[in-house]
Amino acid sequence: MTITDKLNHSAEAPAFISEARQIVTFHIDKRVFGIDVGVIREIKGWQETTLLPHAAHYVRGVINLRGLILAVYDLRARLGGGLTIPTPKHVNLVVDVAEQTAGILVDAVSDIVDVPAQAIRPAPTVAMDGIELIEGVAVLQDTVVALLNLSAVLGRRAASPQANAAE
């Protein structure tokens, strides 16, 4: 709840610190990721999904969010890890990206932080799983936050080869 409160609070108060981005951080295993506060609509606990036929393996299915049907993406699987075994402690970040509303399944949300622009670096060019989904890296005091490129995470292009093959 505290995170949601903080989220609401920060959504109300526009960022007055210039040149800084407000980032919601969350983690999968030990890796820390972040996305802009603005794209998050709400944070929900894990709920049972309805499977989608012939969907990419990281699409966990669809859920009902007050009448809106949205797909849930398993971020661990999307980044090349195995499927998450969800517990009530896992959370869905409900995000709005390019007219699409989707859920991102993560282990837990950590915090909302202000990241000054100079702390953000381009993504490293090393070969690793899911590197194309990272748009940059923010270095905070003791942690490195990988900033996600959400359009790429939800990219339909990546999600559709099975669907195409089935046609």
């Binding site: 989608l52 036929p53 049907i69 949205l70 797909a71 339909r156 669907a163």
Partner: protein, 686 residues
């Protein structure tokens, strides 16, 4: 925003509708309709344009609309037979009105072309109808008192109502010819105890002030009444029974003057900002219809959808309570459920519009294309009252235009070719809409030469879309039409044939969550069918379980349900299963497996379904959970197309269930397609 500007914008928008209506009426008249409804409808449309144009200070539009209206009035007064009217001129005038309207929308004021105005003024002069009607054909309205009122006695037979005749239509027909007074005689009414409400005991005495001859009156009356049911008598006042042949040739000026200036708001001077002049007009219109922001209706629609879900949730919770306590509540819930359903249908009806709105643009397209291509074709429209969600209607115009173009350009032969093929020189294009199993089916079919498969195949091979060794089935060749960059026209024409068209149609329709099918028979014609969803619709669904997932099947697509234990299932090499039922072999598909949910091996129920291609498929599922009304929620908007599912819904427990698209099942399991093909040729199996 300036309220006047806003009103003017609304008027200009209304003009588009009026012009579309006018065009539709003209098209009907041109195609041989003699109905007063069509004539009056055309007249009213242009009259409204004129009225509004006057109110908003658009003199050019008023001028053009006025002469147009005057020309149409000749039709209305019977001075020109509908068959003899100059439709080319009318269409030209219609276009010009459209041009003026769209110019006005952009803030430009164009002048009405003088030659067109002149041509319209000459209507009725140049076209003096021949025959016995000639003397009455050009009456001089300046001296209308020549003949007294005509007395008409209507003495309908008892069975008038049972013949489905509404006397008001007769009155309307007469009213179009002049001023009508109606007296109803109720003396023949039996007492309440004896009355049979299906009998007509009424008699009418009419007085009509009109220039019409007895013959013209009789024509109108005989449409509905037998010769023994009416009598026409002339008032004694005028000396001559037949009006004398008038020698006065009305001049154009007389004609335009004789046109009664209609309505109080037809041509006031340009209104100052505060002037309330247009208000009464808008008020009057508001009584019959209002314009509502689509978003508001959508919000309403969503709310009702939520209520339906809550409703089924309550139903479910009720089941878990002790029976004694639930009896009374169950009654109430049942009523609530019926009311909710009604509410839902009403809200949906608000969004629905007849496909007529799009269809009525098509006759003209066909005419123009025929002229451009030197072909002869007639357009037949069926089911134009089918109602579809407004958003779909808006997206239909482009695909339909492409399909009709395609039919005329590629499918239809020239008159000579048709004669040589033993067909009537005039081709037939049929545009049909209907609602079938929860979706809208719109088809464009022609009786032309059909798809030239050889050429299509040759072209596809030349482009490397198909290898030389492949031998695609005829239907597969036809489906190549939708491939971008393939077109069968021998030369690129102005009309179509640039190889864009059918693939665009496919894209548009798929974006709406629909599909396009093609069927063709060489030498006999082709049919393109659009299958479109009724978005936001509610559907009667059967909820089943397959491989652990709850799924919804549209009731409309299920033919029957069978216990698989009672049936004979044949297994073919390759693992294809078939159901032998009613002396017919149908492919059997394990639904959960086909949808990639894993195999359950616990399938016990077979749902026999029929796809839109007419083939039957048995869907093998674990169990039937129940039957209920579900709210269709699009998956396209939030996620994208899902193979095998047309949409999703939310069940009473708040969880999502997919709605299965039965028609797409064959295409998502390639082996099943093969099996289907085999099954359609049963001889090979036996």
């Amino acid at each position: 925003m300036d309220p006047l500007v806003e009103l003017k914008a609304a008027f200009l928008e209304e003009c588009d509708e009026l012009l579309a209506a006018l065009e539709a009426r003209l098209a009907k008249l041109r195609d041989g309709s003699t109905s007063m409804d069509d004539i009056n409808g055309a007249f009213r449309a242009i009259h409204s344009v004129k009225g509004g144009a006057g109110a908003f200070g658009m003199p050019a539009l008023v001028q053009l609309a006025h002469v147009f209206e005057a020309a149409l009035d000749h039709l209305r007064a019977g001075r020109i037979a509908p068959a003899a009217a100059p439709y080319e001129l009318f269409l030209r005038a219609l276009d010009q009105v459209g041009t003026l309207v769209s110019a006005a929308r952009q803030g430009n004021a164009l002048a009405a072309p003088a030659d067109l105005v002149l041509d319209l003024q000459r209507v009725g002069l140049s076209a003096a109808p021949g025959g016995s009607q000639a003397p009455e054909a050009a009456p001089d309205l300046a001296i209308p008192a020549q003949s007294g009122p005509i007395q008409i006695a209507l003495r309908p037979n008892l069975d008038l109502f049972r013949r489905a005749i509404d006397v008001r239509h007769i009155f309307a027909g007469l009213e179009a010819m002049g001023q009508l007074r109606v007296k109803t005689r109720i003396g023949g009414l039996p007492s309440l105890r004896e009355i049979n409400p299906q009998n007509c005991h009424l008699m009418f005495d009419l007085e009509l002030e009109s220039e019409a001859t007895d013959q013209q009156l009789a024509e109108v009356l005989e449409l509905q009444l037998g010769p023994d049911e009416f009598a026409i008598a002339r008032n004694a006042a005028p000396v001559v029974a037949e009006p004398p042949a008038r020698l006065i040739e009305p001049s154009p000026i007389v004609l335009t003057q004789s046109q009664p200036d209609p309505g109080p708001v037809s041509a006031p001077p340009p209104i100052p900002m505060e002037a309330p002049a247009p208000a009464p007009r808008i008020k009057a219109a508001a009584a019959s219809s209002i314009r509502v922001d689509l978003q508001r209706i959508d919000r309403l629609m969503n709310l009702v959808g939520e209520i339906v879900i809550t409703q089924s949730m309550l139903d479910q919770r009720l089941l878990s309570l002790p029976t004694a306590a639930t009896m009374q509540i169950a009654d109430g819930l049942q009523i609530l459920s019926r009311q909710t359903r009604e509410l839902q249908e009403s809200v949906m009806a608000v969004r629905a519009q007849p496909v007529k709105n799009v269809f009525q643009r098509m006759p003209r397209l066909v005419r123009e294309l025929c002229q451009a291509l030197g072909k002869q074709a007639r357009l037949q429209i069926i089911g134009e009252d089918t109602e579809v969600d407004k958003t779909i209607i808006e997206e239909l115009a482009d695909p339909l235009t492409h399909m009709i173009r395609n039919a005329l350009d590629h499918g239809m032969e020239t008159p000579d070719e048709r004669r040589a093929a033993g067909k009537p020189p005039e081709g037939l294009v049929t545009l049909q809409a209907e609602q079938r199993s929860g979706r809208i089916v719109i088809s464009v079919s022609d009786d032309g030469r059909g798809i030239n498969r050889d050429r299509l195949l040759a072209k596809a091979r030349a482009r490397g879309l198909i290898t030389a060794s492949e031998r695609p089935a005829p239907e597969e060749i036809d489906a190549l039409l939708f491939h971008p960059g393939l077109s069968t026209a021998e030369a690129v024409t102005d009309v179509s044939g640039r190889g864009v068209g059918m693939d665009v149609v496919k894209q548009n329709v798929e974006a709406l969550g629909g599909r396009v099918l093609v069927a063709s028979e060489p030498g006999k014609g082709a049919r393109f069918t659009l299958l479109l969803p009724l978005t936001l619709a509610v559907m009667d669904g059967m909820i089943i379980r397959s491989s652990g997932q709850r799924l919804v099947l549209p009731i409309a697509s299920i033919r029957e349900t069978l216990q698989s234990a009672d049936t004979t299932i044949e297994c073919l090499p390759g693992g294809h299963e078939f159901l032998r039922h009613r002396d017919r072999l149908s492919p059997l598909v394990r639904l959960g497996e086909v949808l990639n949910f894993g195999r359950s091996n616990d399938e016990q129920v077979i749902l026999m379904t029929e796809t839109d291609r007419g083939s039957q498929i048995g869907l093998w599922v674990d169990e039937i959970i129940g039957q209920q009304q579900v709210v269709v929620k699009s998956l396209e908007t939030s996620y994208g197309a899902v193979p095998g599912a047309s949409a999703a819904t939310i069940l009473g427990d708040g969880l999502v269930a997919l709605i299965i698209d039965v028609d797409s099942i064959p295409s998502i399991c390639a082996p099943a397609i093969l099996a289907l093909r085999t099954a359609t040729h049963p001889t090979q199996l036996q």
